[in-house]
């Protein structure tokens, strides 16, 4: 069978991108190999670990279990898309509260946490832990991740009235 190819266009971190790819290319490989956005990591490659989590139209999704062609016309946000001139409050909070050690899982954890705070702007500890069910971290034991997300919630609440203002 000849390897079918197709033109795929989507928005990534606010920019429209097009590539001619095989339909079997996974979103995570599209981001890493076609767009060189290597902040999104491949961990388990079996939709367990959540390291590859990105936002599709604002919702956290494991990009190793999505085809790039499924995202045609949709908007994808990766870890590289968070920083707008200065660190995103989530990044700021992870730095401040030591929410990472080796850092491998961190991009996926942050993208998952961003959706979590959208749903629960002021989450309880158990809501945070429940929200982290789909990400695995083998360094921190999650304690500092939970603290980081609580801190991020505070930073984002402070930021709320003036969304344009720089943080940190």
């Amino acid at each position: 069978m000849e390897h079918h190819r197709m033109e795929v266009t989507m928005t990534v971190n606010g920019r429209s991108v097009s590539r001619d790819i095989e339909p079997r290319v996974l979103l995570v490989h599209f981001l890493r190999d076609e767009l060189q956005l290597t902040g999104t990591h491949v961990g388990c490659d079996t939709s367990q670990c959540g390291s590859c989590t990105v936002l599709i139209d604002g919702e956290a999704v494991k990009s190793c279990t999505v085809l790039a062609v499924q995202c045609m016309g949709q908007s994808v946000t990766t870890i590289e898309g968070l920083e707008q001139g200065s660190l995103h409050p989530m990044q700021e909070a992870f730095r401040e509260k030591h929410g990472l050690q080796c850092g491998f899982c961190t991009p996926g954890v942050m993208m998952t946490a961003i959706q979590l705070l959208k749903q629960h702007p002021n989450p309880t500890e158990s809501e945070i832990r429940e929200g982290l069910d789909g990400v695995l971290c083998r360094c921190t034991g999650y304690e500092t991740i939970v603290r980081s997300i609580q801190h991020a919630a505070g930073l984002m609440a402070d930021q709320e009235p003036q969304p344009e203002e720089e943080v940190g």
Partner: protein
């Protein structure tokens, strides 16, 4: 991991999708919904369709509609929608409760109710709710529409009666009586989150009155989820007592099809314990 090569087509509507499925017979066309069961199988080369038919744009597969006596849930409805939709929450709280226990938020953002049922994994959560709520599945093909219940639909692990030319378009749930209570209790596998055993119970119940219209559905045990009808018979018309719950749990393990289970005594014990605990939880939730 890469899947085998395939051709991708995105169907515009139900007619377009049915046309692709009818095809010329030479090509193995597989329907892609949320992809959270199919793509992992394709990455392992356990599934190698030559055409993937993406149905995400098919409007006929969407929506949650309240019709006279029924809630019609489009096959493309995601788990996350089931957990948030007000109609489902009000009319079918069991379905919301079950959907909220599936995997994690990233998976619930993609996985669909129709995809779960067509994949027919014997250790899925959704079948327990579909059986306990007595829902029927709407299958549309070139010769029109037919409706089947889940027990008829699911044949064996990963095998259903869905013809290659048919699509599951919706699941229709009868709206329960106001008095219906329900509960779901599962033992999640610590790594995968799938139910090692899951027990769903519905029925009309008050704390000190005989139980009526009781339905007990068990998933995770045996080749497919099943209604535990003898267990229901044990409970029907009886006033709830701890002795009754224990007796019902003992009956439940006799009707599970566990002959092929490698860890039989563990499974039996788990089924007994979870049916009994689910009954306590069910009565605890009765006002």
């Amino acid at each position: 991991m890469r899947t085998a090569p395939f051709e991708y087509h995105r169907a515009q509507d139900l007619d377009d999708a049915l046309e692709w499925l009818a095809g010329d017979g030479d090509r193995d066309v597989k329907i892609l919904a949320g992809g959270h069961s199919l793509l992992p199988l394709m990455k392992l080369k356990l599934a190698t369709p030559t055409v993937l038919l993406d149905v995400q744009d098919v409007p006929e597969l969407r929506g949650i509609l309240l019709e006279s006596g029924w809630v019609r849930i489009g096959a493309l409805t995601r788990y996350v929608d089931l957990t948030r939709d007000a109609t489902v929450g009000d009319s079918l709280p069991l379905l919301s409760q079950v959907a909220a226990t599936v995997a994690d938020i990233q998976v619930r953002n993609r996985g669909t109710i129709g995809g779960s049922l067509c994949h027919a994994d014997p250790a899925a959560d959704i079948p327990a709710a579909v059986l306990a709520l007595d829902a029927r599945l709407v299958l549309v093909g070139p010769r029109g529409e037919r409706r089947v219940n889940l027990d008829e639909f699911t044949v064996a692990p990963f095998l259903t009666v869905l013809e290659p030319t048919e699509i599951l378009t919706a699941i229709e749930f009868p709206i329960p009586l106001q008095s219906q209570q329900s509960t779901y209790l599962k033992r999640p596998h610590p790594a995968s989150g799938y139910p090692v055993v899951g027990v769903a119970i519905t029925g009309d119940a008050s704390p000190h009155e005989p139980l009526s219209n009781v339905r007990v559905a068990v998933t995770g045990i045996g080749p497919k989820a099943y209604r535990a009808e003898k267990t229901e018979g044990t409970l029907k018309g009886q006033v709830p007592t701890p002795e009754l719950f224990r007796a019902a749990a003992d009956v439940a393990i006799t009707e599970a099809n566990m002959s092929d289970e490698p860890d039989l005594s563990y499974r039996e014990q788990l089924t007994r314990v979870y049916v009994e605990r689910a009954l306590y939880q069910f009565y605890g939730g009765v006002a």
